[in-house]
């Protein structure tokens, strides 16, 4: 714990807040600390977590991606047609197609950002509008329910019946989420590429002088984020059993808030998978707890927003301001 506190102060404090929150909710509601509730929390947070770790990689590399949630919707629609074209498809094809399509949309961002030397927020806001507008235009906002059976079938990975007869079930999205989280952790902490991503986000000019290839970094970061967006989109359909073109728009900002809450720095170079998971779970558990305490669902978001605002404002949870923008290493070139 002491090590964690020193090397990852934001994560450590977040963990303390989370434990306190759980303890409080455990006392306030007898349903909170049950296996069933924990399982449903995980089931419901899995898609956000998949997206969050994808976005984390972009943030670490010093970028930002506004377009990923809309990209996930685009992937969902393209998947429906791709699976139909591939004779129905199966899970293997599903992951390959969704991951590849997502990564492809990420590469579009990376190509524009690197090729024309434009900051990522400008490009991803442009692609956000382009992807969403085109999707709504071509689909005319149509919902799709006629999906391959394997895709919309609920798959239970682990189940457990507790003493009172209730079932606690973990579904496929949770397993996929775990794989994505671990893969992202391995990428950014255990590979040379991942460390280069950190270095590139931290000091782009220094990284360039050390021989880090800037284009490669952009393509890996945005490609990874896009791939996670695609896989998250695939899982979202598995949960909701429908494809709705405007179901995911707006989620990008909620996920961004959670990831930044988890200690990832806007501006690059800082952020961890642990903090990212804690940030997402803090928001999810707050909502879940409010629900169990019988608070009106309309009040959830208000309280979540207030929680984040208070968290930012408490001196003990201090998030460093990104270095002054428009100065020094933020700009590319000599």
């Amino acid at each position: 714990m002491r090590n964690l506190l020193r090397s990852h102060p934001t994560e450590a404090r977040l963990l303390v807040v989370l434990v306190a929150l759980c303890a409080g909710l455990g006392i306030g509601s007898d349903q909170f600390l049950t296996l069933g509730n924990a399982a449903s929390l995980l089931n419901n947070s899995s898609v956000n977590l998949i997206w969050a770790v994808g976005l984390l990689v972009v943030l670490i590399a010093g970028g930002i991606d506004i377009s990923f949630a809309v990209a996930a919707s685009v992937v969902q629609y393209l998947c429906v047609y791709a699976f139909a074209g591939l004779g129905g498809g199966n899970w293997l094809i599903g992951f390959l197609v969704a991951g590849a399509l997502g990564a492809g949309l990420g590469f579009v961002n990376a190509g524009l950002i690197h090729g024309f030397r434009v900051i990522s927020i400008v490009i991803t806001i442009a692609t956000f509008n382009a992807y969403f507008g085109l999707l709504m235009f071509f689909t005319s906002g149509r919902f799709l329910y006629d999906l391959p059976g394997w895709w919309s079938r609920r798959i239970i990975i682990v189940e457990h019946q507790s003493a009172d007869g209730r079932w606690a079930e973990l579904t496929l999205p949770v397993a996929v989420m775990l794989v994505c989280v671990i893969a992202t952790w391995a990428l950014i902490n255990r590979t040379s590429t991942g460390r280069q991503l950190y270095a590139f986000g931290d000091n782009p000019e220094g990284a360039r002088r050390a021989g880090v290839k800037v284009a490669t970094m952009q393509f890996i970061a945005f490609g990874w984020c896009g791939m996670m967006a695609g896989i998250g989109g695939l899982m979202q359909v598995n949960i909701t059993r429908e494809v709705v073109p405007n179901a995911l728009i707006g989620r990008e900002l909620d996920v961004l808030a959670a990831v930044v809450l988890g200690g990832a720095r806007l501006g690059g170079g800082r952020g961890s998978v642990l903090g990212c998971v804690l940030g997402v779970m803090l928001v999810a558990i707050t909502q879940n707890g409010l629900n169990l305490l019988g608070v009106s669902p309309y009040a959830f978001k208000m309280i979540v927003g207030a929680t984040i605002l208070i968290a930012i404002s408490t001196a003990s949870l201090r998030f460093g301001r990104a270095p002054v923008r428009g100065h020094g290493t933020a700009r590319k070139g000599h």
Binding site: S7, T191, T193, Y198, D202, G206, R208, A210, V212, G328
Partner: protein, 511 residues
Amino acid sequence: MTAAEPAADPAERTATESPALRLAHVSKLFGGVRALDDVAFALGRGEVHCLAGENGCGKSTLIKIVTGVHAPEPGAEIEIFGQPVTSVTPTLARGLGIAVIWQDLALFPEMTVAENIAFDTLVGGRPRGVNYRAMRGLAAGVLDRLGVGLDLDARLNTLPIADRQIVAIARALAGDARLIFMDEPTASLTQSETDSLLAIVRALSARGVAIVFVSHRLAEVLEIASRVTVLRDGRLVGVYPTAGMTQSRLTELMTGRQFSHAVRARDLAAERAVLVLDGLARRGEFEGIGLTIRAGEIVGLTGLIGSGRTELAHAVFGLTRPDAGTIRLDGRALELRSNRDAVAAGIAYVPEDRLALGLIQPQSIADNIVLSVLPGITGGAGLISEPARAGVVGHWLRELAIRIGRPSDPVSTLSGGNQQRVVLAKWLATKPRLLILDSPTVGVDVGAREGIFAIIRDLAAQGLAILLISDEVPEVYFNADRVLHMAGGRLVGEYDPRQITLAELEERIYA
């Protein structure tokens, strides 16, 4: 003087017989500006060679070309350890045994000391797993060789600047480099740290490592290097042995001009006291500071990095609040809640870090000048008056002889010397009573420094009280009326330049 003077010197013989690096016909254009023009450069194995010249002479560009950060214009010849190289990349340069300590360090503030030192093992080749243990081992080994103890797991941004400099040096030594470029490696080191760095340089040289040393501290250069290559305005001036070379001769070669040095101290004890500090203290920074600066007096304040001089300046300028003691200006006790109070009271402060704190680089020269006097040029309706603004800008551009294209150009387009004049203009426009200058010549060319000091002396002659902070002892010795020595947060000595020689003063301060 433009051609290389013959130097029958053993170092030159090594350079031709077993060269570490040989460059010829190297040119570089940046958007039309000729940063390097047909430059040649060579050094031999084991040689310590100094690259000298004013800022903007092309030193850094030369280093960036050799290390593959910039590509030279076509026609350049580059030979590294006898091997002709057509296009250099950072990875290739490292593979050939080249390492650099960059002036701006080029480190990664969010990463640990160990990762910074061993970072180059992560770059190039195929993506692979990270062996943290090996990285730590490598880092520990290098730091051991340097004889310094640093926490390997500390994040770099938690370390003081001097320690970061050591990390940068360690990083350059971590690979088995055979040719090391050191761009201002001692800029933020204390004397003892500098001494140990110079000892390391000698040891490396003895093992056959070639070192290109760039420093504006000419005494250091002459002490460590065997030969010196001088560049001016992107062109080669010549290659000279350091044996028999003097600092003033080298300055002449670098600037193309001659300078005279004379002690200019005056006795101003009869003048009215402008600033009086009494028992000023701030926990962990400085304590028991008492000093007086009189009207028209230039008081030099020197001391090593970490002696508390900049912290003291911050407190007098209202950026931090002292725990004890009083600040009096013109006999009035000041209670400074912020630097805005200090400005209003008549205190101006030129910070050491001109790039990041002194000026707003991307904004215009005009805006940087009027920044501090906005209320004065605002009309009745709360709108800034264009004529008043142009008047202030025009006045100070003339007064300080700032040579610029247009006042609307970004201030970043100016040379270091002219930038420093803009900083001065900004503060002089507030009509201050006390001017604090913190290392005003850092990053300013040798030639332009004299111009800055001429302005400072002129201001003093008009009755302004000036506190001149600098770690360059000669700078305060030749320009101040009195020299104060600060160490460990206390004032430990006061000297009259007329009663002590420069050598004696340096001896006392570095002892």
